[in-house]
């Protein structure tokens, strides 16, 4: 038979779509790969509190959803689909999909084919676990997930994989079982530092056996695995095989259905119409796969997509939100007209997809400042992106008259790209309307649309040149230079250029930072640290033709490269440029001499850079000559933040009595922000990276922060009255409050917010009795080096 609609993927989006299809009387079928509904939610931690963000958007679904435990949410859905007799088939993984409306064909893993007039894809983003890819991969003793390692005892278990999941499983299983880990390479390069240490130790002392450089050849009947090792094949008897090889992102499958993506970047989303239809007629995409990473949004889209299929052009659930956003604008309140107007006014948005633009505006604020109001101040740490819809703004300029920008132009890209402070103060002009978009959404846009990236990059270069190297050059010249410049990307420890190389150009550090070192007496001595917004390589160009030092990226870094030819042209056109350059060179030479005279200072700087402080904006350091290890800093942090300390004083390395504790360093380009479904991680004007209440506790940021400073924590018991505690000792001591909810199901992400909501600055620093704790920006690291030398 041919269904009117087949829905692929029984997560919140698919379930809601199926329920509504039933309600409207369509002939439909819901296919779910796993054995139960909503596999992604099934895999949350037991008892996890599921949150219903965004709160401003109403729920629109035939199924229920309100905040509550994972179990309660799943039970409500189960009951809903039972009551409605939703037509769902479990264990039905779709492996191929072809055709278009009204002839679509789906192939299931078992080879069965199904037919439908239209298909809704709601398979989420979790992907499917990568299989062993050898014969026997589906045998009963092979598994691709591990819920509870304590379930197994006294078994011989082969763990395949070298990532964090494999290592964590192997170590947990080794407590009660004999574990063999199989690694394709000769080291565990992908693992986090802590896991790496644990697994190498376990292998060294024999608690876990390891096969390096080994591939799985096959899984044999009767519980055995055949391995291809360096020295030949071996056969290992085992009770169980656990393969943790990561997930296959659904992108390849989605593309095989004919759906196009605007760019190759893995974060880009498929292009959809405002009815969620892809470029393949009859194929719809909703939920996390379509770029809506929250349950409520997914469910709403499930409902809406069925309405659209039916030809009902209903208004999306968040229509009202947009309408009220537009209320204060002088453009009238019709949502679609206003969206069109925004597209018309801002050339940057000219070619982006309607749905994407809608999402962007939804995530943005509309500002209508009074003339003379400050939009942002120089040295603020905000990183939003501003597009002018109407009126104009004035950018203050240290080197001359203010710069005017009018409707259709944008600003704010400098901080967005570099992660550094705002480079100028911007004031509103008359009747000014500004669309302020969060960094995350603009970055997504840049990843998806090449021309958006190009335009923003060009502006960045022109404005950087104008702000530093060539303040007086005419705009046309700068634009020409910008088109001839080159964007270069480096990962940590990459070399931009080496001492002795011929000087072929100048690097403007766009984000990240670099260290400069010189080889003296057979040893590399770090002579300086150069932050984003500055340039390196000028010495070779102005003076000698050879690089006098080696420049290395301390963290992931991007630079704008101006070749020697371009630079010479600039020198020829601007008499004062050479002078300015020579001044810089003089300062740098003096600094070099100072640092070379005291190689220990360079060692301290490179130690700090190894701790990743090259991307810090503000870091907590502890002077070990003063610290008495009383942990009052931790207690202060805990007591001013609901009982959980966000810093671990004792952890972390030290060098020359400078200790880098485990604590947020408020990165210029915070890794924690990369994958937060409700976009709850924000940066405040003073640079604090903080987490808003809308956090849903998914734990992505915890694993994305390379410095291990985010914890998932629940509420703690209230603090006792201080005087009462001092006199009677009743209640928990400061810093020692116990969690209210022992199951830990209500955890949210917590991290340092630099006490931005308390007056007086960070509590840790203020509570240190000996003055050992201090916060500092990397630019001030030089002050530290004075004491070593």
């Amino acid at each position: 038979m041919r269904y009117e609609l087949i829905i692929v993927g029984g997560g919140p989006a698919g379930l809601s779509a199926a329920a509504h299809a039933g309600e409207l009387g369509l002939s439909y079928l819901l296919l779910e790969a796993s054995d139960a509904l909503a596999n992604t939610i099934q895999r949350y931690q037991k008892g996890k509190h599921v949150m219903a963000e965004p709160q401003v958007v109403p729920l629109r679904s035939d199924l229920e959803f309100s905040p509550g435990s994972r179990e309660a949410v799943l039970a409500a859905w189960q009951q809903g689909i039972d009551a409605r007799k939703v037509n769902i088939r479990y264990g039905a993984e779709v492996t191929a999909l072809s055709g278009h409306r009204p002839n679509m064909e789906l192939t299931l893993a078992d080879g069965e084919t199904l037919h439908a007039e239209a298909v809704v894809l709601s398979i989420g983003l979790q992907g499917n676990p990568r299989k062993l890819g050898v014969s026997g991969e589906e045998r009963s003793f092979v598994q691709y997930t591990l819920d509870d390692p304590d379930e197994y005892r006294g078994e011989t278990i082969v763990v395949v994989g070298a990532g964090d999941a494999a290592i964590e499983n192997a170590i947990a299983l080794a407590r009660n079982n004999s574990v063999i880990i199989v690694n394709r390479r000769d080291e565990f390069a992908r693992a986090k530092e802590g896991n790496l240490n644990q697994i190498t130790r376990a292998i060294d002392d024999g608690t876990i056996a390891c096969f390096y450089n080994t591939h799985v050849a096959s899984v044999e009947p009767g519980s055995a695995i055949r391995l291809n090792t360096e020295t030949g094949e071996t056969h290992v008897e085992c009770d169980r095989i656990i393969a943790r090889l990561g997930a296959i992102p659904p992108r390849r499958f989605v593309e095989s259905c004919g759906i196009e993506f605007p760019s190759d970047d893995p974060t880009t989303l498929p292009e959809l119409t405002h009815h969620y239809e892809s470029n393949v007629p009859g194929l719809y995409v909703i939920g996390a796969l379509g770029g809506y990473p929250l349950i409520k949004q997914a469910m709403n889209q499930g409902f809406e997509v069925v309405e659209f299929l039916r030809g009902n052009d209903i208004l999306p659930a968040d229509h009202g939100v947009l309408e009220s956003k537009f209320e204060s604008l002088p453009f009238g309140t019709d949502v679609d007209e206003t969206l069109d107007l925004i597209r018309e006014r801002v050339p940057l948005f000219a070619n982006i997809n309607g749905l994407v633009l809608r999402e962007l505006v939804l995530a943005s604020e509309l500002l209508t400042p009074v003339a003379g109001d400050i939009v942002f101040r120089k040295n603020d740490y905000t990183n939003s992106f501003m597009s002018i819809l109407d009126g104009e703004v004035e950018i203050e300029n240290d080197n001359g008259p203010p710069i005017q920008l009018g409707a259709g132009q944008f600003f704010g890209e400098m901080s967005l790209l570099s992660g550094r402070r705002r480079s100028a103060t911007v004031r509103a002009g008359d009747a000014c309307v500004i669309l302020e978009s969060p960094r995350r959404d603009i970055v997504k846009l840049m990843n998806s649309y090449e021309q958006v990236r190009r335009i923003i990059d060009q502006h960045f270069i022109v404005r950087t040149l104008r702000g530093g190297l060539a303040p007086d050059a005419p705009l046309e010249d700068l634009e020409r230079i910008a088109t001839r410049s080159e964007l270069r990307k480096y990962t940590a420890n990459d070399v931009l250029f080496e001492q002795g190389d011929t000087a072929d150009g100048l690097h403007l550090i766009r984000n990240g930072s670099v260290s400069v070192s010189r080889r003296i007496g057979g040893r590399d001595i770090v002579t300086s640290y150069v932050a984003a917004g500055n340039y390196v390589g000028e010495m070779g160009l102005v003076g000698q033709a050879q690089r006098s030092a080696t420049v290395r990226a301390t963290v992931a870094t991007e630079s704008v490269f101006l070749s020697a030819a371009v630079f010479d042209e600039m020198l020829a056109n601007d008499a004062r440029l050479r002078e300015r350059m020579q001044d810089t060179v003089k300062v740098r030479l003096a600094e070099n001499l100072r640092m070379e005279a005291a190689p220990e200072s360079g060692d301290l700087i490179s130690f700090l850079m190894q701790q990743g402080l090259g991307e810090a904006t503000d870091v907590l350091l502890i002077d070990e000559t003063l610290c008495v290890a009383c942990d009052n800093c931790e207690k202060a942090c805990a007591e001013t933040h609901g009982g959980t300390s966000r810093l671990d004083r004792a952890a972390g390395p030290s060098y020359a009595q400078v200790h880098v504790p485990t604590s947020c360093r408020h990165c210029e380009d915070p890794h924690c922000m990369t994958d937060c479904p409700p976009d709850a991680i924000r940066r405040a004007p003073n640079g604090e990276v903080y987490i808003e209440d809308s956090c849903i506790g998914c734990g992505n940021c915890e694993s994305n922060c390379p410095y291990g400073v985010i914890q998932m924590a629940g509420a703690k018991e209230p603090a006792p009255n201080l005087l009462g505690w001092l006199l009677t000792g009743k209640g928990a001591a400061p810093g020692d409050r116990q969690p209210v909810d022992a199951s830990g199901s209500q955890k949210k992400a917590v991290k340092c917010d630099m006490c931005k909501d308390l007056g007086g600055g960070p509590a840790c620093v203020r509570a240190c009795p000996t003055g050992a704790a201090l916060r500092m920006a990397p630019a001030d690291f030089v002050n530290l080096t004075k004491r070593v030398s």
Binding site: D204, D205, A629, P653, Y655, R766, G771, L774
Partner: protein
């Protein structure tokens, strides 16, 4: 990199304290009461009141230290003031009492006060000296690294011991299990290594004290001397080397714990004596008014 407690704000509170001391001395010098100087003269009452207020304020430091959201100065600033003004108190109170002491509650209060101050001086000395020593002793690594390393040595020793047979394994395992450094704050302060080990001596198993892993090393040396084959001797000497490493680590860790305990323990003198001082002071003040 940062100012120490004493250097805080260019020793601002040192100057405040000196001013207080000089002021009191000058007043004492010029004050000419009918009776010999004592707490009952006008100046005596004044200085007594200043002293009592100072003590109350010094004791409040315990509250300020835990008022984590307070923006009233920083704890470091308070402590710097606490130290200098606490020392100035000696002069203020001596002048208040007109150097008159007897066997009475007034003098008891004074003695308690001096003990609190002396313990405070001890505290400041260790606060200023130990941090650098601790950091050097640990070689820049956090304490947890030392403990990890210790566990690592234990695991490796167990493996080597396993290759030497059940006896050796049992011996090493008992030593690992009974390694104990500073179980209580007091033990840590005394740097006591209360490790033990089970030794097999003439067919019997005895529990022996094993501070610094000495007993273990002795036993191993003995085993090595009576063992004939080269392989066993090799393994035993490997084991000894591991345990000598462990001894070194235990010393390092012991020194770290000892210094840490010293940094904490003196407060167990300073604070209870403060409580006693406050009580005695209250009695002193009440009695002088009763007998007035």
């Amino acid at each position: 990199m940062h100012e120490s407690l004493l250097a805080f704000r260019r020793r601002f509170y040192l100057w405040v304290a000196l001013l207080l001391v000089v002021g009191s001395v000058v007043a004492y010098w010029y004050h000419d009461p009918q009776e010999p100087p004592n707490g009952g003269t006008l100046l005596g009452y004044t200085l007594g009141t200043v002293g009592a207020l100072l003590i109350a304020w010094l004791a409040l430091f315990g509250v300020r230290k835990r008022s984590y959201a307070s923006t009233l100065g920083t704890v470091q600033g308070w402590l710097s003031a606490h130290i200098y003004l606490g020392l100035a108190l000696i002069v203020v109170v001596l002048l208040h009492a007109g150097f008159q002491f007897g066997w009475n509650v007034h003098t008891l209060a004074f003695v308690l006060m001096m003990l609190v101050i002396l313990s405070g001086v001890f505290g400041v000395v260790v606060y200023l000296r130990y941090p650098v020593r601790m950091s050097r002793n640990r070689g820049g690594a956090p304490r947890s690294d030392l403990i990890d390393e210790l566990e690592d040595i234990d695991r490796r020793s167990l493996r080597v011991a396993g290759s030497l047979g059940a006896d050796f394994h049992e011996f090493v395992a008992s030593g690992v299990q009974r390694t104990q450094l500073g179980a209580t704050l007091w033990d840590r302060f005394r740097g006591r290594d209360s490790s033990q080990i089970l030794l097999r001596q003439g067919g019997e198993t005895v529990m022996a004290a094993n501070p610094g892993q000495d007993a273990a090393l002795d036993w191993l040396a003995e085993q090595q001397s009576i063992s004939g084959d080269a392989e066993t001797v090799g393994a035993i000497s490997e084991l000894s080397a591991l345990i000598r490493n462990k001894r070194k680590l235990l010393r390092q860790l012991g020194a770290d714990l000892k210094m840490q305990a010293t940094l904490e323990l003196w407060l167990y003198v300073h604070v209870p004596l403060t409580a006693a001082l406050l009580a005695a002071l209250l009695v002193h003040i009440v009695t002088v008014f009763l007998y007035w």
